[in-house]
């Protein structure tokens, strides 16, 4: 079985966002990049499938700039246990989801994966679409927001997906794609030996075919800082006054 995992390079979650000089993208100076957390979970999950089953190859695909920080993100995925990686080179990652997905689909088509994994959403642009568009372009069924390990069996797959208000149990034909949510597995520590081994694994660079943009980001703004409010008081004695304020001043109760 071949598993392809799509991984995006994103700013570390602790990054304080600054708007770049262009006005519509962030200033990436001093930004640490990491694999988008849901994508990293997808890699970890793919590697667990590999550990429990013979003959599983895990391939990482990313679209992003050919820079040291992107390579670092790929090496991290290889250290988790993926076999090899493909970097689709593009100057940035700030494309709209259709542009990203069509470039990914072009490359993934040649790999013909049995299982194609994504994060449910990239934590930079928060679009939550690339999984759907890529799998549609590849004509693969997609289970969106899988929250527990899949039941893989022959020509069908069962998945459990969180939706608003509950869990849906889905059955799909196989090969298929899935986007992964936070609870599917956990991240393990990477032993040094795996990190060392990862430095020798193959990263293939290919060039991106980019479609015309469907969306354009005109401006990036920082939200108005919340001005800290007031401390109503200390301990349980402050509670009646808090409720009065919530009712009469804030009018939310």
């Amino acid at each position: 079985m071949k598993i392809v995992v799509c991984v995006k390079r994103v700013p570390d979650t602790a990054t304080k966002i600054k708007v770049g000089a262009e006005g519509n993208v962030i200033d990436t100076k001093d930004v640490e990049f990491i694999p988008s957390p849901y994508d990293e979970l997808a890699v970890e999950y793919a590697v667990r499938i590999q550990e429990n089953q013979s003959d599983v190859e895990v391939v990482i695909v990313t679209l992003g700039p050919a820079e040291a920080s992107t390579e670092k993100v790929l090496r991290r995925c290889l250290a988790i246990g993926a076999n090899r990686a493909i970097l689709i080179e593009s100057a940035g990652t700030d494309h709209d989801p259709y542009v990203i997905a069509s470039a990914l689909a072009n490359t993934i088509k040649e790999e013909s994966p049995d299982l194609l994994l994504f994060g449910i959403q990239a934590i930079d642009d928060d679009y939550g679409q690339v999984s759907s568009i890529t799998s549609a372009l590849l004509d693969m069924p997609l289970l969106w927001g899988v929250s527990e390990p899949l039941e893989l069996g022959g020509s069908t797959v069962k998945g459990r997906c969180e939706v608003d208000g509950g869990v849906e149990i889905l059955e799909s034909s196989f090969p298929c794609a899935a986007s992964i949510k936070g609870s599917i597995t956990d991240i393990r520590m990477c032993p040094l030996i795996k990190i060392r081994r990862a430095s020798k694994k193959e990263i293939k660079n290919v060039s991106a075919q980019l479609e015309d943009s469907a969306l354009s980001v005109e401006k990036l703004e920082l939200p108005a800082e919340r001005v800290g409010g007031r401390i109503v008081g200390q301990g349980a004695d402050a509670v009646p006054e808090l409720f009065r304020l919530l009712r009469e001043e804030a009018k939310v109760l």
């Binding site: 989801p97 759907s132 069924p141 889905l170 799909s172 005109e218 939200p223 509670v239 009646p240 109760l253």
Partner: protein
């Protein structure tokens, strides 16, 4: 023809509120752009429901009534939407950014060779074009997006846009879709309703959230105790989700849910940047923390410096009084 489509979602024989918000906003934009708005209603046994959309000011409904939609997943809905959008030459298609709305809109966008402006929190008309505001980096920044390809697809963050009552006569058009051969290759074979949480986190108007300050899983009964009389949903910080006290679906933050309720009550939560990212757009924030230096107080409108084990029972008492009065 041109116009705007507003996609409704039906659950348990009723329109989901979030999708009615999308309908409301579509009507507002339709008026500004002089475009006709058609609500799209899809499913099994939904024809009758379509008539009731008049209550929300809808005068035209397109109905896809098909037995095969009974336990269908996202693909046939997305195919139906793409086909309707093409046949009506729609200018815009409005969705709710619920979990299902996000999955369906993105698939539909693939069939229409475009992308969705997902999770919009504000839509303005400028020179006959839409200028859409959406949070990025989990709300640490706001991005203003314009649409370059028609039809323009938008999904609207639940709880941000209003539903207005109105009255209109609804003209219903039945639309039959040529589903592809693979449309039904994924089936919903079962549903497990969340029992412990009757109010859905992403749509709740009040959220009571707990963090590591609660000390152990069992003490979350204090959070539930307060949430109950307030009709609130229960949220959690990642620290307590990682410790297995609460399921991941309750996690608020950059790698959990992004919420914007009217009232967010953070109890025993320090206010790490990743947590703030998920709740900073709440209208009113209340923090209960015993450390007056906790960063959560920097974003809170009202704070109480105190021990959750003393403050929460007193709050529950007040909330019960309030519930009894109303």
């Amino acid at each position: 023809m041109s116009g705007i489509l507003a996609i409704t979602e039906v659950k348990d024989g009723k329109f989901r509120r979030a999708s009615l918000e999308a309908v409301g906003e579509a009507l507002r934009i339709g008026q500004a752009l002089s475009l006709e708005v058609s609500a799209v209603v899809m499913g099994t046994g939904v024809s009758e429901l379509a008539g009731s959309l008049g209550e929300y000011g809808v005068s035209k409904a397109i109905v896809v009534e098909d037995d095969r939609l009974e336990n269908a997943y996202t693909q046939p809905y997305a195919e139906a939407i793409a086909e309707i959008a093409k046949s009506k030459e729609a200018d815009y298609v409005f969705f709710s950014a619920s979990a299902r709305g996000k999955a369906i809109s993105a698939l539909a966008s693939a069939y229409l060779k475009t992308a969705v402006v997902s999770d919009c929190v504000q839509i303005q008309v400028e020179d006959g074009e839409l200028s859409c505001q959406r949070p990025v980096y989990a709300g640490k920044a706001l991005s203003v997006v314009k649409i370059q390809k028609k039809p323009g697809l938008l999904s609207l963050r639940p709880n941000v846009f209003s539903v207005e009552k109105n009255s209109a006569e609804v003209a219903v058009e039945n639309f039959s879709v040529n589903f592809s051969e693979t449309a039904f290759r994924v089936k919903v074979v079962g549903v497990e309703k969340a029992k412990e949480q009757s109010v859905e986190l992403s749509e709740a108007s009040i959220i009571v959230s707990g963090g590591r300050g609660l000390k152990e899983a069992a003490n979350f009964s204090l959070i539930e105790g307060l949430a109950d009389p307030l009709g609130a949903a229960v949220g959690a910080s990642r620290a307590v989700v990682d410790d297995g006290w609460r399921p991941h679906k309750d996690q608020v933050g950059q790698t959990g849910k992004t919420v914007s309720p009217n009232l967010y009550i953070a109890c025993g939560i320090s206010g790490a940047i990743q947590h703030l990212a998920g709740m900073r757009t709440s209208k009113v924030i209340v923090a209960i923390n015993k450390d007056e230096e906790a960063p959560i107080f920097k974003v809170a409108d009202y704070g109480i410096v105190g021990d959750v084990f003393e403050v929460l029972p007193k709050m529950t008492e007040e909330a019960k009084k309030l519930a009894a009065d109303s």
